[in-house]
Subunit: 206 residues, 4 copies
DNA sequence: AATGAATGAGGATTCATTCAT
DNA sequence: TATGAATGAATCCTCATTCAT
C-alpha cells in the first residue's frame, strides 16, 4: 500500500499540522500516534521516522504554534503608543490566540509546564517571550509612574492569562458567550484602572 | 484472608479520604485504583464494590472536597461588612484553598469541567456555590453603585480564580514565592480599584 | 473466557515451568510472553501479574534451575573420597546438567553473564556455588600437593565447563555422539593427568 | 544527493569491514543495518543492494574473518617441529584471535552454529579448517604414539576452545586478568601432560 | 461484605526490508 | 548504481475492571 510520497519538509509539516488538529480535539493523553498516521494516510512507522517520540512530536506542535503566534503578534505591537491602547491590543491578541486553540493552551499548561525540565525548554522561552511582552509593557508603566507599584506584574500577568483561559473553557463548554470584545475590554479596564496611578481616568471605560 | 470489616459509611469515607490524598499526589491519569486499594489495606474489588468506576470515585472526592471548603468558608463570610474587606476575605480564602490542593483544583478544571455533562453535575453546583459567593458579592457592589457596571462579574471571577491558579502552579514549580498575602492583596486591589466607581480610594492600597 | 483458577504458588510454578521449556526451545530473544501465556492458558496480563518483566521471569527460571541442580548435586559430593573419583563425579554431573538443558546454559552465558550487574545477582552466586564445588576440589588437590601449582584453577574450571558447553552444542546440532561417558571420562582424564603431580598414575586412565 | 560511487567490490569490502566493527561492538541482535549504513555514508537500500538480508551480510563478515585468521595462521604452523611447541603456538594463536574479537566468536557460536543449515555453510568449513589444524596436530600425536588414544581429539579441541572462550568472556566482564601467556601456557600444559603417553615430561611445565 | 485471581483492550515504539524515482 | 521515503509485523508492557468463591 503506497501512500503519497512527500519530501521530508512536507511530510513533517503535514504531520505537525494534523497533530495540532488532533491534539486540539482529544488532548495529550488520548492523542494516538496510530490515529495521526491514519489521518495522514501513512503508517505509524512513518510518524516515528520523523519524530522519535509522541512527546517530541507534540512539543514540536507547541513550538510551531507559539512561533506562529509570535510572528503574528509583532507587527501590531508598536502600532499603539499609549499604555492603555497597547495593553488592550495585547490582551485582545491573547484572547484571540487562546480562543482559537484552547486545547493547545491547556496542553501546554497541563503537560508541558509540569515537566521539571520545562524551564530549559524552547516552549518555555517562547511562552516567556509572548507573555513577556505584556509583562514588559506593565513594567514600563510602573517605571514611568503611570502604574502603581503595589502589585507584582507577574500577578497581573496571571490575572490576564488566567482569566482568558477560564473564559475560554467556559466558552468551550458553551457556558458563556465569550465575546472577544467584552473579555478584552473587561480585562483591560480592570487591570488598567486597578493599576493606574493618577486620578481616575474616565476616558477609558465606556 | 479477610480484611477489616467496616460499615459501608466508614469504608466509603476511608476510600474517599485516601483517594483525595492520592489524587493530590499524582493527578487523575496516574491515579491507580490498585494503589488506592493498597493504601487502604483492601482489595481492588472492594473499591469497585463501593464505586462503579474510577471516575465516579474521583467525582465523589471532588464533591466532598467542595463540601468541606464551602462549610469552612461560610462562618467568615458575614464577618466583614465592607465590600473591600469581604472581597479580601474571599480572595484570601480562595488562595488558601487552591494553594493547599492545587492538584485537586486542576483535576476539576481538566477532567471534570470538560465533560459535556458537567453542568448537570453536583460538582458544577458546588463549584458554582463557591465561586457564587464571590460573584454575589460583586453583583451586590454593582447593584449598590459601589462597583461600575462595565465588566461582567463572571469575568472578574475568572480573573480572580485564574490568577490564583496560575500563581499556585508557578509556585508548585518553584518559580515564584507565592506569598498568600501578596497574592491576596494584589488580586483584591486590582479588582477593587479596577471596579470601584467614584473617586479613587487611596485608603485601600497600602 | 475463564482459565483455570490457581493459587499464586501453583500459578507461578506453572509459569516458571512452562517458561523453562519455552526458553529452552527458542532462546531469550524469541521468548514471547504472549506465547507463554498461550501455553499456560492464561492472558499475558496474568504473566505480568506475577512477574514485572520478561527479564525477571527468565531470571527466576534460571534461579530455580540452578537451585534444583545444586540440590541434586549435593548428596553425591561427599560420597567419593579420592580426588579422581570426586572430579569424575562432578564432571559427570555437570555434563548431565548441561546436556539436559543446553539452551538454558547458553541463555545464562549469553544473556545473564554479559549484564554489568551480573556479579551482584543471585544467579551469579548460584553459578559460583556450583562451579565453586569443582574449583574447591581442585584447590584442595593443589594444597595437598596432589595437583601441581602451575595452572590457575579458574582456567581448569573453564576447560571443563567450556568443553562441556561446546560438546553439548555439537550434540544439539547432531554433529557428534556426545556420549556422557566418553565426555566425562575424557575431561576428567585430561585434567587429572594434566595436573597430577608425582609419577604417572596409570591406575586411572585405563 | 548521490553518495560516492564505488565499484561493487570496494563497496562490499567497505560494508563488510564496517559490519565487522559494528558487530564486534554490539552483537548480532543489536546490529542495525541503519547504523551500518550511517557509518558507511550510504543509504540502507544500498546495503540491501549488496546483501539480501542482514543475516547473509553477517555470515559474510564471519567468513571473511575466518579467512583472515586462517591466512595469518599458516606461516607459523610449520615453524615449530615438536608437538608441544606446535600446540603451544596454536593455542596462543587461538587465544589471540578470540581475545581480539570475542564478540565475533560468540556471534558465530550463538547465531551461526545453532542454525540447522550450519553444516552446509562456508563458515562451518572455515571453522573446521581452523580448529582442524589443532585437531590434525593432535591426531598426529596420537598416531605417532606421543599422545594416548583414550580421549577423542574433538573433545580436546572443545576443551581448548571452550576454555579460551570462557576466559575471554570473564575478561570482558573484567572478572579475570586473562593474561595471554598464562592462559596459553595453562591450556597447553594440561592438554599436553594430560595426553602425553610416556613417563611424565617435566621439561615442559616451567 | 470481601477478596484474589484473572483479563480485554489497548498503546508506544522498533526494525528489517521494499520500491518508485 | 543509489537512494530516500515508507512500512508491516511485531513486542513488551499497562490498567481499569470483572467474577467465582
Amino acid at each position: 500500500m503506497t501512500g503519497v510520497r512527500l519530501k521530508p519538509d512536507q511530510r513533517v509539516a503535514g504531520l505537525v499540522a494534523a497533530s495540532r488538529t488532533l491534539l486540539a480535539e482529544v488532548g495529550y493523553e488520548r492523542f494516538l500516534p496510530a490515529e495521526l498516521a491514519r489521518r495522514c494516510g501513512v503508517s505509524e512507522a512513518t510518524v516515528y521516522r520523523y519524530f522519535p517520540t509522541k512527546r517530541e512530536l507534540l512539543v514540536r506542535v507547541a513550538e510551531d504554534w507559539f512561533e506562529e503566534v509570535f510572528v503574528a503578534l509583532e507587527p501590531g505591537v508598536t502600532e499603539h503608543e499609549d499604555t492603555y491602547e497597547r495593553l488592550h491590543y495585547l490582551v485582545r491578541y491573547a484572547v484571540e490566540v487562546v480562543r482559537s486553540e484552547p486545547t493547545l493552551t491547556r496542553y501546554i499548561f497541563n503537560e508541558l509546564r509540569p515537566d521539571p525540565e520545562f524551564r530549559s525548554t524552547a516552549i518555555y522561552r517562547l511562552n516567556r517571550r509572548f507573555t513577556g511582552v505584556v509583562v514588559a509593557l506593565m513594567r514600563d508603566a510602573v517605571a514611568r509612574g503611570e502604574f502603581r507599584n503595589d502589585v507584582r506584574v507577574e500577578l497581573l500577568r496571571d490575572m490576564i492569562f488566567g482569566a482568558i483561559e477560564h473564559q475560554a473553557w467556559a466558552y468551550l463548554r458553551s457556558e458563556g458567550d465569550f465575546s472577544t470584545e467584552d473579555t478584552t475590554d473587561g480585562i483591560t479596564r480592570v487591570v488598567y484602572r486597578g493599576m493606574a496611578a493618577g486620578p481616575p481616568d474616565d476616558r477609558r471605560p465606556r
